[in-house]
Symmetry: none
Subunit: 181 residues, 2 copies
DNA sequence: AACTATGTATAAAA
DNA sequence: TTTTATACATAGTT
């Protein structure tokens, strides 16, 4: 929702993560408030920041909504540890845990590698693109100045003016006149 | 946020109100999930619909976050100083396993999301780059043909020949001859 | 701690 | 439902 799309995955940089948290918590609470008012709904939110600070929002207030919810809670079996199945013994669990930890480590390595690739990509491609745009602009400038005292065809002027691609003005054209000998 | 702007005030029509509730509850929970994953935040939401049906979202789950909040835990015992050679019991192992499985799933999601972004990146940036190069080439061709019977300065020829950037030839130049009117 | 280009959520319509 | 046009949230930037 910003300048770039981001993957929904833990933000690595702690500073960015905190900033993201602040912005998004604000947004979330705003949405919650709108929901409550628009629909006459009761709502409670509690959230702990990356630094483990608690924040809360409630309409009409956290405690009332929370108790109401807890009271009419019939069974809270989320099914994960369903009792009807065989309970694994400790050795099995240890083995599983080790296996999964190994997998996790691998996946994290992969993710890091992908990050690096993406960064590299951004650097090279964007740099190339910007330099090319810049060079293109300079070239056009020079040509125009060279041709200024000659007749110029309509098609040339057209081509020289249109910035070419569907570029959304990421790189503003420089207006400066360069000597270029 | 839709076709029209709406005032934040109780929606009169009960049908619309219920529809609005459904859409916005979905959106809110999605945002909450993103916040939790992006920032590693714990979060719990409970909300009652206009028809007083309860809905909840929790990461890792509603009850843990709620109790943590209610207890206002100062986080005293993080285990650093405790009797450190205890053999973990089965519940601990189960918990660990679940935690790690969750992490693993997350890491896999992350990898997939990054792949998508990288692909998207390749598509947009490379397309732009290619179009720009192509257009640049055409422009140079045209200028050269227009100038063929005029004197051309050394610097212009130089600029016209050099492909500009330190491009690693990921995108081969097209050799085709274009009519150009 | 503000801005703004861009991605998302969603009010209406179909 | 699903789609579409618009308002909004926010990632990256200064």
């Amino acid at each position: 929702m910003g300048r770039r799309k981001i993957a929904i995955a833990r933000v690595r940089d702690p500073v960015i993560r905190q900033v993201t948290f602040s912005k998004r918590r604000t947004g979330l609470f705003k949405k919650a408030n709108e929901l409550a008012i628009l629909c006459g709904a009761e709502i409670a939110i509690v959230v702990f920041s990356p630094g483990n600070k608690p924040y809360s929002f409630g309409h009409p207030n956290v405690d009332d909504v929370a108790s109401k919810f807890l009271e009419e809670e019939p069974i809270l079996d989320d099914g994960i540890g369903s009792s009807s199945f065989e309970v694994p013994n400790r050795e099995d669990l240890n083995q599983q845990l080790e296996d999964v930890l190994a997998e996790l480590k691998e996946a994290e390595n992969e993710a890091r590698a992908h990050d690096e690739i993406l960064e590299e990509y951004k650097r090279t491609e964007l740099t190339q693109l910007e330099e090319l745009k810049d060079s293109y602009g300079k070239f056009k400038e020079m040509v125009k100045s060279r041709l200024s005292d000659l007749e110029t065809t309509e098609s040339m002027l057209l081509l020289a003016e249109k910035p070419v691609v569907g570029t959304k003005n990421k790189v503003p054209r420089k207006k400066g006149k360069q000597p270029m000998l």
